[in-house]
């Protein structure tokens, strides 16, 4: 099964948390092969590119295990 990452959108977002504070994110809208869209947000505080890559890998592993 080919699960090519196809990022459709990449943007910054600001969301109000439950305690009233505002937190900023990077939003990724992408597809993995024919599956998706996936939407993941990575906090800008302590941002690291490996975070989104780790999440994408985890999603790939579980997509492979899902029976079709």
């Amino acid at each position: 099964m080919e699960l090519t990452v196809n990022i459709k959108n990449f943007s910054d977002e600001s969301l109000v948390q439950q305690d009233g504070s505002v937190q900023k994110f990077k939003r990724y809208d992408f597809y993995l092969g024919k599956f998706g869209p996936f939407v993941e947000r990575v906090p800008l505080e302590g941002f690291n590119d490996t975070i989104i890559q780790t999440r994408i890998n985890a999603l790939k592993q579980h997509l492979i295990g899902i029976p079709k």
Binding site: F35, P37, V39, R55, L59, H62, L63, G65, P67
Partner: protein, 238 residues
Amino acid sequence: MTPFDPSACLAMLLAFYPVVTPAALALARSERPEYFAAGLIFGSKGDKLQLPDGRVFDVIQNAGGLPGTQRWQMIEPGPGGGDEVFPLEPGPLTPIDPGPDVVVGNAGTFEALVGGALESLVGAEGVLDSAAHRVTEGIAAGALIDGASTELDDVEQVAWEIGVARSADELADVIGQVDELGGAIDATDADYDEPPPQPALPSEPGIPAYPGDDGTDGEPGRENPRHPEHPGPSHGDD
């Protein structure tokens, strides 16, 4: 609104929410709402997802079971659920051949049934005449029954007279027996004509009223006042 992909939603749940509970499903719904396409979580256990287009997905397997036995799933139950993730294999049983259609009779209407019934009653007049003739014969038999009843009444009269005669005989026998008993009673009374003897009282022995009445002194040397010859002790006169 983000379109709904069951596989993407299930992969997200498997990757980021290892603890399978309805609370984890609600948390995922609030943290990553785009995966749920504005669907709502419902159900008595909070394990089902309903999308705005009406589709319903069962998200948690064995939601009411023991802790640790739950699994994430994305199954759309009911008919018309789209492509089945686990399609059923054809079983060994085959449908039963229904066979030929049931043949319906010719007499399909009520009029035809009534007409057929009337035709079956064509020869019934002869039967009715024969039955009337038998009734006439029965009337003659009734006269015989009345004669027999009269004879039965005579039998009852004779039986009553016999009973009365037997009663009279029995009464005469009782009277004769009473007369014989009367003679026996008179003969028995004659044996008891003498007056009954007077009862003899036993002779009363003489009881001495005082000691010494019998001629002996009660005490030696004591005078009996009733017998001067046997003086008793003096009482102060001398």
